[in-house]
């Protein structure tokens, strides 16, 4: 099994590198890059090393916690990282790996459950996030003993949970389908289904809060622990209960995983349902930029696994935004912090938008599209969901407090700024259409860069006022746009 996974891993990275003309034109360079990117051990070591930096920071904060309860709550918060990464990489990379056609050579072979290769291939990408949490585990174990070890088990379970959920999303929403009766409605339903699906852990937590308030005497267990991951990780302070909870998770997850693996292999096609009625051609042209945007959105909405990558920023800030809207009088800085957070996480989706084209990227290279048009098209795709959400939030808050409407420009400028920084990071001096190698390590570096940019804007806002910060952010946006215009 392992040799096949190694071949698939190398093949996936080889095809990715081949779509970059600068690398593809030089076999020496290609071989050199492939040595790092296509070798599982080397790739994992490099990424894990980058992640360890964050891991040590997290471990430091746990070491500084005043008591075991606080340390465990902190640990539970950090446990979200491997879960999110597993969910994200599984859904987005599953779609990408299939769209690159790397499983096609396996299909004619007498393999019963080929999906296990896909599963393992995707699980490899989750290793760095688990390793990032190891320093925290070591600190927890050194300070408090058994809870640290339980924490490790919870992290592995959380990663597995994210992976299984990702496989479910890909299996049931991953292949594109179009046509038939009410196809638009079905696409909308699928999109809503995915949003609800990945939000269910927040929903579970809110449900639990409700239970706690109303049935405290009857349900002491609920009152004490949250059952939803990652909140459940905080239970490590009571090892027996935590272990039972963990085993309950695995009792559900393992059969679910085996069931999904069986389903997945049959569904690993780029395109599934295509129940089209006969249609006639109607010409509808747009500007090249809009055409690129519409094309990407159509593909992402049809291949919902890609959609997960696009709505990820929404998933991360959803609870904070919800809290603002339901927690009584609107606090301006609370909204501002959500807008900054939204802008900060917008750049994560660069990984997804660059994977939308898959193998069809070669087609773009035959068309008269400039690098500038390509970059701007991808920028728009990255911003559609975060900007709509940020503007929606400001409008909703303005309904409660009309004065907050002045935040509207910043709700647009900040995500545009961070996504432009992302494009500048990956396309600096690039003169040809290409797809750069993006992994979570790159995204992390990008997050630091954007954190610095947003930190500067926030400091200006805090010390000199909104108008000054907005002006500087807008100027920054134009500056970065100028740098990436071709």
């Amino acid at each position: 099994m392992w040799p096949i996974v190694k071949i698939l891993y190398r093949e996936l990275h080889y095809r990715r590198l081949k779509s970059n003309p600068g690398i593809a034109a030089d076999p020496g360079k290609l071989g050199e890059q492939l040595k790092n990117a296509g070798d599982i051990k080397r790739g994992m070591a490099l990424q894990s090393f980058a992640f360890l930096f964050f891991g040590i920071m997290m471990a430091g904060s746990i070491a500084g916690a005043e008591d075991e309860t606080r340390a465990s709550v902190m640990f539970a918060t950090y446990a979200l990282l491997p879960f999110i990464m597993a969910l994200y990489t599984t859904t987005v990379n599953a779609s990408y790996a299939v769209s690159m056609g790397i499983f096609e050579p396996l299909k004619p072979l007498p393999i019963r459950t080929g999906s296990k290769y896909l599963s393992l291939l995707l699980a490899i990408d989750n290793v760095p996030a688990v390793i990032a949490l190891l320093p925290a585990v070591i600190v927890m174990t050194a300070e408090y003993g058994l809870p640290g070890f339980l924490g490790l088990l919870w992290i592995l379970t959380g990663t597995f949970l994210g992976h299984v959920l990702g496989l479910i999303v890909f299996t049931f929403f991953g292949s594109a389908s179009v046509g038939g009766r009410l196809s638009k409605l079905r696409t909308l339903a699928r999109t809503m289904g995915i949003i609800l699906f990945i939000s269910m852990f927040y929903a579970l937590n809110y449900f639990q809060e409700y239970v706690r308030k109303h049935y405290e005497e009857l349900l002491p267990f609920f009152a004490k622990y949250s059952m939803a991951y990652p909140f459940s990780v905080a239970s490590i302070t009571e090892p027996l209960s935590s272990l039972l909870l963990l085993l309950s998770y695995l009792t559900v997850l393992i059969p679910l995983y085996l069931f999904i693996l069986r389903k997945l292999w049959g569904r690993m096609d780029e395109v599934r349902g295509s129940h089209a009625k006969t249609v006639s051609f109607k010409a509808e042209t747009h500007s090249p930029l809009l055409a690129l945007l519409l094309k990407d959105l159509r593909i992402a909405f049809r291949k919902s696994a890609l959609l997960v990558g696009l709505i990820f920023p929404l998933f991360i800030i959803l609870p904070s935004a919800y809290n603002i809207l339901v927690s009584g009088p609107v606090r301006k800085w609370a909204i501002v912090s959500v807008l900054f957070m939204m802008a900060w996480v917008t750049s994560i989706s660069i990984d997804t938008v660059l994977k939308i084209d898959g193998k069809a990227f070669e087609l773009l290279q035959t068309l008269p599209i400039t690098v500038g048009q390509f970059i701007r098209g991808k920028l728009l795709v990255m911003n559609v969901i975060p900007v709509t959400a940020a503007v929606g939030l400001v409008l909703a808050v303005s309904y409660l407090n009309p004065g907050e409407i002045i935040l509207l420009p910043v709700a647009i400028v900040l995500p545009l700024l961070t996504s432009s920084v992302a494009m500048a990071f990956f396309y600096w001096n690039e003169r040809e259409l290409s797809v750069p190698e993006t992994n979570f390590g790159h995204v992390m570096i990008l997050m630091i860069l954007n954190g610095m940019a947003l930190g500067t804007v926030f400091a200006l806002w805090y010390f000199f006022g909104y108008a000054y910060a907005l002006t500087v952010a807008t100027l920054g946006l134009f500056l970065v746009q100028g740098a990436i215009s071709r």
């Binding site: 003309p21 593809a24 034109a25 030089d26 076999p27 020496g28 360079k29 290609l30 769209s99 594109a176 389908s177 179009v178 046509g179 096609d269 780029e270 395109v271 295509s274 089209a276 009625k277 006969t278 249609v279 006639s280 051609f281 109607k282 010409a283 509808e284 042209t285 747009h286 500007s287 090249p288 809009l290 055409a291 690129l292 519409l294 094309k295 159509r298 593909i299 049809r302 291949k303 084209d357 193998k359 069809a360 070669e362 087609l363 290279q365 035959t366 068309l367 008269p368 599209i369 400039t370």
Partner: protein, 253 residues
């Protein structure tokens, strides 16, 4: 008119195309023949402005592919050897996307798409996702999309692959019409009988070098052979090899 002078394309230390020179006149169908890996597809990609040459000069109707690849892409229609399409779009969406990117006016796009989809008989697939269609239908979509902008030059890399006899015939007629209108066509094929009947001139590429060029008749005369297939095998030093392989296969099976 296509002018290729001393074209060299290197991939690191590997030289895929070694100083090729040829010209394709207006109103000419030029066949590029050669065994697999000889450098045909690389040459065609350079002509289409997709990859730049390492050395030499290539101009398409006066536009230098190194200096203005975008300008070349505007006037060239290119069909790759395997169709590369957005599989989760429908043909309708795909043609509209191509039309938008190429700046084709709606009216012209409507007219051209309607003409081509009727010609290639793909009307009933317009609402289906491209990924669910057969290889042949995808090849037809690839062909149609390469001609939507009314290109001045057509570059077809094994474009007949997967086409049914009717569609192959239609494509042949289309190419002949292209020639009559004074446009240049470069196409590669392994069906040498087709090249013999269609091409005004043929260039044989072997190991990245243009080893022979001329009309099919001139090549047959030059090689003292009766068919282009025999000429090809002789020029690429495969004739004796093929006989030996066939003999070995007969013995082994």
């Amino acid at each position: 008119m296509i002018r290729v002078e001393n074209l060299v394309r290197k991939f690191g230390p590997t030289v895929a195309v070694k100083g090729i020179t040829f010209t394709v006149k207006d109103g000419e169908i030029y066949g590029l023949l050669g065994p697999n890996g000889s450098g045909k597809s690389t040459t065609m990609k350079i002509l289409a402005g997709i990859i730049p040459p390492s050395e030499g000069e290539v101009t398409i109707n006066g536009i230098d592919v190194s200096k203005n690849p975008l300008g070349v892409k505007m006037i060239v229609g290119y069909v790759p050897e395997t169709p590369v399409l957005y599989e989760s779009l429908t043909p309708v969406e795909f043609f509209n996307f191509i039309g938008s990117v190429r700046g084709i006016p709606e009216e012209a796009l409507q007219e051209r798409v309607e003409t081509f989809i009727k010609a290639f008989g793909i009307e009933r697939y317009l609402g289906e996702m491209i990924g669910s269609l057969s290889f042949g239908t995808r090849q037809k979509i690839s062909l149609i999309s390469s001609m939507l902008h009314d290109p001045e030059v057509l570059i077809l890399d094994e474009a007949m692959n997967g086409l049914d006899p009717k569609s192959a015939r239609i494509l042949r007629e289309l190419l002949l019409q292209f020639r009559e209108e004074g446009r240049s066509v470069v196409f590669s094929t392994h069906v040498l009988a087709l090249a013999e009947t269609m091409c005004d001139r043929v260039g044989v590429i072997y190991n990245g070098e243009l080893i022979a060029e001329g009309t099919p008749e001139e090549l047959k005369e030059f090689a003292h052979e009766e068919s282009l297939e025999d000429v090809f095998l002789k020029l690429t030093e495969s004739q004796e090899e093929v006989v030996g392989i066939v003999q070995a296969l007969r013995e082994a099976l």
